[in-house]
Symmetry: C2
Subunit: 216 residues, 2 copies
Amino acid sequence: MARLPIYQRIVLTWIRRGINRIDSPTLGRLAGVAPATVRRDLSYLGPLGTRGAGYDVDVLAKQIEEVLGHDRIYDVIVIGLGNLGRALVNSENFLISGARLVGLYDASSAVIGTSINDLTVSDVNGELAPATIAVLCVPASEAQVVTDKVVASGIHAILNFAPQVVSVPIGTAVRYVDVSIELQILAYHLTNGTGPLGGGVIHTLGISRPVPPLSA
Amino acid sequence: MARLPIYQRIVLTWIRRGINRIDSPTLGRLAGVAPATVRRDLSYLGPLGTRGAGYDVDVLAKQIEEVLGHDRIYDVIVIGLGNLGRALVNSENFLISGARLVGLYDASSAVIGTSINDLTVSDVNGELAPATIAVLCVPASEAQVVTDKVVASGIHAILNFAPQVVSVPIGTAVRYVDVSIELQILAYHLTNGTGPLGGGVIHTLGISRPVPPLSA
DNA sequence: GGATGTGAAGTAGTTCACAGCC
DNA sequence: GGCTGTGAACTACTTCACATCC
């Protein structure tokens, strides 16, 4: 399922280039997964392909968009506007995929009241705007209290950049992005090559094997 | 294996607090994993625990440190010093775990020559400093050429923040951090709850179930 | 011919359940 | 009693291989 956005991105570039069919070996090569895996993944969306001729890119894009809820708009708040929070808010990758920034929050009086990207930063101790996803860029020590506040405000999905596992009620989704862990995993693979403990295969988003270069 | 750094972090806070034993249910609760999983994970490091009494935190920390290669120093270069690259370089989480910043690179003449964190940004078209890990914060359109250059310079581990799957030779590890994919996955879980396509379970770093609050 | 879609096989990772030990 | 360490069961995911269809 984490691969669908990757397929989507590839299919959209195909559409932009005016190519209207793609087959599973090609899509797999570009996404870094085996052809059979591509077919299995896409088969969950229904029988979209044409045997012998691959997939129509428009049909694919439409189906993936639907299952990802890409047509809906998601209201996102960002809490913690230090270096990382500001970088995210200013990043163009952030707002693709139907996300809409509706609130910025921080605890520091030096930041509260400043404007970033047409939004004014509010005090995190005040009320939070209604939203569906919260992005936490707060220090680890604050992660749990902020999480509790976010949950209390009715948000059920959290993207946590703090290096801290947080506790949430059942029904609330949390995903973690932790740069230092990523570096440690890479460091492990450098020393232990294809050793025990899951050596060899490297993957975060389903990208697991070296991809041969593609000219196109 | 991605869980070892999490265990390590928890164990280190335990040590800092002066508590010298921890058992698998507690460690599991704090890390967001089942006790049996904790024991299975730790058993790969050898029989470290004491039956009936849990694990000695010093022994645990030492063993995890060893298997993570945490005692070694890893030379890291960062390529692309836009908002995200600068935020990472300035972040304190970045340099824990034995990583040492040895080079900064960008393509823009406006950035080349400026100093960040006592390091001067060099031209990415010049020679790259010898390093073991490269962090890419470049636009997606540049990701593959920069990757090729990084690989050619002898680096075998890449952390890629660009929303672009890159192709590398066998033996080179790539990990991806893609914020927009994370948001899309969260959005999917919001609409599809515990549906098909891997619904229900939310996990990035092995954190998969709600953790009951812990007072300590 | 050539690619899809899918049962079946294979693989990886998790959890159970309990013997062994403190 | 309580917790570790681990064979065995289970679950999820990936890949094979081939019948099916364009």
